[in-house]
Amino acid sequence: MSHFNYSSTILRCQNDEVIVIPEDIRENLLPPLYGSKRLHVKVTNRYNFSVVDQGTSICSYVMEGTDQISKLPEPILDHILSFLVTKEAVKTSTLSKVWNSVWTSLSCLDFGDNYLRKSKNIVDQILENRPSEKVSIKRFKRLKLTAVAVNDRWLENLLANLPNLELLSLDHCLSLKILKISSYQLKLLKVVPCCNLIAVDLDDAPNLLRFSSDVHHGRKGLLSYFDPLPIFKLKASRLLEVKINLIPDTEALDTHWAITLSCDYDEVIVIPKDTRGKLIPPLYGTKSMHIKIMDRGRSLQSLIKFTYRDAADDEDDKLCCASLAWKCWRHELKRVKLQNFTCMELEKLRNYFSKIQIFRA
């Protein structure tokens, strides 16, 4: 490579030497060097040179043709590989010993790939092939499973071995029926259509900050859309943000999405401690709920924002829940902000929230 040869030439030239550039190689020169009469070559670190043109411009010139990427610290290489799905990442183990070492201690495995569709056994195999599996698996912070035939028990066992897991993403894991999460560290949970899901139990995830889920519903028949809607059980942190995409059947006239909002808890005013865990997330202590309604090609991002009453605001002692340490959501609710709803939807929501009498649009 002409670049490389020329770089060697630069290495040989010392401070303040005049370089005569033969006409026949001029074309091969890199721009910062072409046409300059004098060069100062200052070595600033192992592989980086500052080239000072005689003029005013200062250019930095890095020797090309050498392996710079492998010299990056391992945490950075780990970060780079975290953007690749497992199939791509495992491939880098054959590049060189440095890369193999990065792969075997990779802190993030993204199984989001069709080739894993066959069976969870391949996931097992990859995990087994990691030499220090027992040590390194504990380091995992992110896990994404796409179309992997995992069952409830396998996932539960796996999660029990991942104490540092912060992000879990499940996509089209069709064999999953009950998702039970017990994780102290988990911050983000994403569940996109896992059609056979009956329940999501987040009873023991105190640090969960974001939960998002796609819910297909409305159709009974060939495609196994949710029927009934899955039950979300949750002992939420106050900071939890819930994002649920309701994707109704395009054929259905009534989109049913309001069901989740009005739900069956219309009459529940005082929420006894033991049933709190059974509430649908948007109505229990959540900060905001984003709803994306997809309707015949029209995609609408709507936002309902809940603002809760501070303890200091609470002067009204006639509240039904006054005697309890924990206030029911209606009375905690101070403001509901609605965005991007159509008139009809807005009207329905207004009616719903006006029952609480503290609604301000």
């Binding site: 710079q68 970060h79 497992t86 491939k91 054959t94 080739y115 092939n129």
Partner: protein, 163 residues
């Protein structure tokens, strides 16, 4: 009222690069870096950055300034800026990624790592080696063993081109 005008005045920081160049930036711009933020919280206004060279620092300050003024309206503008930002040589990318890592600027870190990862994606190991000039230090037997252990990853077609 002197105190009010003082508080209104923008707090400034001085960043010093590894090659001893100094840059003055607004505190609100600098604190997007966790490393700088921690120092600012400890009361520092002069921040030496012994691991960040001037060339990378200039680019990173540009990035921080642009992202500090993020609003709903200039979303497109920032996207274009980001696209141009990563459209550079590998060596620049590696300098920047080391600097971003040291400075703990996670959004920049993610963007740079994603850019580098995109060049590995879909390529055969041989192509990746050529693209990044990686020297294989395995014996042929060792390499064959590793390939065999992860055989299912090598099924199918790879992109052998170097672009």
């Amino acid at each position: 009222m002197a105190s009010t005008t003082e508080t209104k005045q923008k707090k400034m920081l001085i960043l010093k690069s590894a090659d001893n160049d100094e840059f003055e930036i607004e505190e609100s711009v600098g604190v997007q870096s966790e490393t700088i933020k921690n120092l600012v919280e400890d009361g520092f206004t002069f921040v030496p950055l012994p691991n960040v060279y001037t060339k990378a620092l200039i680019k990173i300050i540009d990035y921080l300034k642009k992202h500090a003024n993020k609003t709903d309206s200039n979303d497109e503008e920032i996207k274009t800026f980001d696209k141009d930002f990563v459209n550079t040589t590998f060596d620049d990318l590696f300098e920047l990624v080391s600097a971003a890592n040291y400075l703990h600027i996670s959004c920049l870190m993610n963007m740079l790592c994603q850019t580098i990862a995109d060049r590995i994606k879909d390529k055969s190991p041989e192509a990746v080696r050529k693209i990044f000039h990686i020297n294989c230090d395995y014996t042929p037997e060792e390499e064959a063993k590793i390939r065999k252990a992860n055989a299912q990853a090598f099924e199918g077609q790879f992109d052998e081109s170097l672009d």
